[in-house]
């Protein structure tokens, strides 16, 4: 049975055996670069196709079904189209920032990959402050969006960027509090520790009420942070045409588009790690046989399954709800989510101290 478990260590061992340490490290870096790039490319293609298929089925349509079997290569064709398009830069734009913005957005997405545990022992960097690292790096993405909106010298872009700035920073708070809930329960910021703590039950079950509240808060907050409907005010189509990326075309637009989906993947991966036990299989109490069968499913499948479930949830939101207005959006955060988050944090602290969680 194929599993990614142990591959990293064996590759690393092999490299260090064959080459001198510097060389081995360099080789490792190359492998990471290649893996990350291919992951980005594949994720982009898969997620865009998934979005279109989910949207189509919800909207009683078929969705893309012409390119390849069942429309599987539609996104490949779209990417080719975007590559073949001319990347226009408005005359009045701040050209340096305009060109820099997609890079910033991509870098943020890429950096966030580092602490994610894709499978057992398959993690690029198991940093000991993993959760804090994710919080801090993900808040950088707003810079790319602000940069893009400002540099375009377009009124829609600027409005979109401003909205997105206010929105992302606001929702970062409740995302942070939701993450803290799990940190309180686990007592560690390290991703591998958090996953290990869920060996005999995921936090969403073990942490009961506060964990469920935290999960709901987290999902809402990350939907807003990734500028997805119903919080897609930064690119509200009917109001600001395309928001902050109105002026982007060709490959630069594709990078923004890709970054949006990568961000969704990453926040869902983190959500899966925190609340659904990452790559941990589903274990129920002392049903030994059941637990054993579950163990046979590779950890990478577990991880991807959970992540894609959350991604589906976020897509489901998008194709069901209308968009909020900008003041309502901020109201939701500051009047509902934030007080609830604070209250929930206290609740979880009490539960953790008294040991009421399972």
């Amino acid at each position: 049975m194929f599993s990614l478990e142990g591959i990293t260590t064996s590759v690393q061992d092999w490299l260090f055996m064959k080459f001198n340490p510097t060389m081995a490290l360099a080789m490792e870096c190359v492998i990471v670069i290649l893996l990350a790039i291919s992951l980005f490319a594949i994720l982009g293609l898969v997620l865009v196709l998934m979005e279109r298929k989910v949207a189509a089925h919800i909207q009683i349509r078929l969705g893309p079904n012409r390119v390849g079997p069942g429309g599987m290569f539609q996104t490949v064709a779209d990417t080719l189209k975007l590559i073949m398009k001319e990347g226009l830069v408005p005359d009045m734009a701040d050209k340096f920032l305009f060109n820099l913005a997609p890079f910033v957005v991509m870098m943020v997405g890429m950096l966030l990959l580092a602490p994610i545990a894709f499978a057992k022992n398959f993690q690029i960097w198991d940093i000991n402050i993993g959760v804090l690292y994710i919080s801090s790096v993900s808040s950088l993405s707003v810079i790319g969006i602000l940069m893009a909106g400002w540099a375009s010298n377009n009124k829609y872009s600027l409005l979109g960027a401003m909205r997105s700035g206010a929105q992302i920073v606001s929702y970062e708070l409740s995302a942070g509090f939701a993450v803290l809930t799990i940190v309180v329960l686990t007592g560690s910021l390290q991703i591998s520790e958090i996953v290990k703590a869920q060996e005999n039950g995921w936090w969403i079950f073990k942490g009961h009420i506060p964990a469920i509240i935290a999960f709901v808060l987290y999902i809402i907050a990350v939907t807003a942070e990734t500028n997805r409907a119903p919080f897609d005010l930064a690119e509200a189509e009917s109001e600001l045409t395309a928001g902050f990326h109105t002026e982007y075309s060709g490959m630069r637009f594709a990078l923004f588009f890709l970054a949006e989906y990568i961000n969704i993947f990453i926040v869902c991966a983190i959500g899966a790690t925190l609340f659904f036990g990452g790559w941990m299989p589903l274990h129920i109490g002392n049903w030994a046989a059941f637990n054993h069968i579950m163990d046979y499913i590779p950890s990478s499948v577990w991880f991807m399954g959970k992540t894609f479930f959350l991604i589906f949830l976020i897509m489901w939101f998008r194709w069901t709800f209308p968009r909020l207005r900008v003041d309502q959006l901020l109201n939701l955060e500051w009047k509902y989510l934030l007080p609830i988050s604070l209250f929930n944090l206290l609740l979880v602290a009490i539960i953790a101290i008294l040991g009421w969680h399972f």
Binding site: A55, I58, Q59, I60, R61, D94, K95, F96, K155, Y156, L159, R163, A229, P230, D232, L233, A236, E237, S238, E239, L240, T241, W319, T320, F321, P322, R323, L324, R325, V326, D327, Q328
Partner: protein, 378 residues
């Protein structure tokens, strides 16, 4: 690197308080057509909206001056293309009134049924488009599924899906399709079973309600002063349903309620339209089994000539009161024709109801005014 960029411009040259003038349209996803709004913004708040029209002005009024009374009816299909049948009806009624042409009952019944179907189709499209303006894409497809059934009925009977061109002065161009009654009944069942979906997805949705309630309030007095008609005025509590006030065809024989709301906000306009669809269904149900047998077209002269004088008819389209004003010199063509289009008056209220609200509210206000641009530009 930054020498090409003036980071902060002097605000004095840009008007007070950093006002931003933004063009919405003609190529904008929310204006549904080529409406051009010049919006003055302060931050997110709208200070002023100024419509610029004429992107698809074809001067239908001038065109009609060179068309005969048989021909000019079909030009009006292209004004408010979503209620083309009702526009045609209004013109035909004018000719019939001017020349005192007797219309057989069968034609009257069919005309009313098709008018109501057109109204439902128009409201369905509006519902989808309005939800889409507010960011909910899915109801659009659900609404279009039902609308598709109506267009199929229209296609069977009228031979066209949008610009029906089914009415001639004196009756109908040809008889209804043999399956007409069966299909309409099938549509009514389908519509009734699916109408709850709009409630789940749109009406009761907390986001939708908060986006539309209290947004774009138009008081009854303003509605009259701005000449608003149709669902827009009825949402403000102004009774203005031509079908009730000045019944034409067989509207005086059917039972239906004029839907009135008092709030005058976007949500009320939404509710009025949804309830109106149900009332239309009610009208159709009363008529569909009772279509009398007989001729579908009355006797008319070969060449229609309106007597010298002035004529005015009005009908209730999906958007409101559609008036046709004809000045005849006694010839075969009108001397002057004026179409009082509901959209034009409704649009004039836009600045009033949207000024002071957010950009997001503009979508709700504009969406619920149900603007069809060819109707405004004519």
């Amino acid at each position: 690197m930054y020498n090409q960029t003036e980071i902060l411009k002097d605000t004095s040259e840009l008007g007070a308080d950093g006002e931003l003038v933004i063009n919405m349209g003609p190529q904008h996803p929310a204006t549904h057509g080529v409406l051009h709004l010049v919006v003055t913004l302060n931050g997110e708040t709208i200070k002023k909206i100024e419509p610029h029209l004429g992107y698809i002005h074809r001067s239908i009024e001038k065109m009609c001056e060179s068309l005969t009374y048989r021909q000019f009816i079909y030009v009006t299909s292209r004004m408010d293309y979503l209620s083309s049948h009702i526009n045609n009806l209004g013109c035909a009624l004018l000719v019939e009134k001017g020349m005192a042409i007797e219309v057989p009952d069968r034609a009257k019944y069919v005309r009313v049924i098709l008018s109501e179907l057109t109204r439902i189709a128009s409201h369905e499209l509006w519902l989808g488009a309005m939800a889409m303006d507010l960011g909910a894409f899915t109801p659009f497809f659900y609404a279009f599924r039902e609308r598709e059934m109506i267009t199929d009925i229209m296609e069977d009977t009228c031979g066209a899906r949008l610009t029906m061109n089914y009415i001639v002065p004196g009756g109908l161009m040809y008889d209804i399709h043999p399956d007409f009654q069966k299909k309409v009944k099938a549509f009514i069942t389908q519509f009734k079973s699916k109408v709850t979906e709009y409630e789940d997805l749109v009406t009761n949705n907390v986001i939708f309600q908060s986006r539309t309630k209290g947004v774009g309030i138009l008081t009854a007095e303003d509605a009259i002063s701005y000449g608003c008609t149709g669902p827009v005025a009825r949402a403000s509590g102004v009774s203005c349903d031509i079908r009730k006030l000045y019944p034409y065809e067989v509207y005086d024989k059917v039972e239906f309620d004029e839907v009135l709301e008092t709030a005058g906000d976007s949500f009320a306009r939404y509710i009025v339209r949804v309830k109106e669809m149900n009332q239309s269904i009610r009208i159709i149900e009363q008529l569909i089994d009772n279509i009398p047998e007989g001729d579908f077209v009355g006797k008319t002269k070969n060449v229609l000539k309106l007597p010298k004088g002035e004529f005015y008819t009005r009908v209730e389209t999906a958007r409101g009161e559609f008036g046709v004003f004809v000045v005849s010199e006694g010839g075969t063509t009108p001397h002057r024709i004026k179409f009082r289009s509901p959209g034009f008056s409704n649009l004039s209220a836009l600045n009033h109801i949207a000024a002071g609200s957010k950009i997001g509210d503009l979508m709700a206000s504009m969406g619920t005014l149900d603007l069809v641009i060819p109707d405004i530009d004519r």
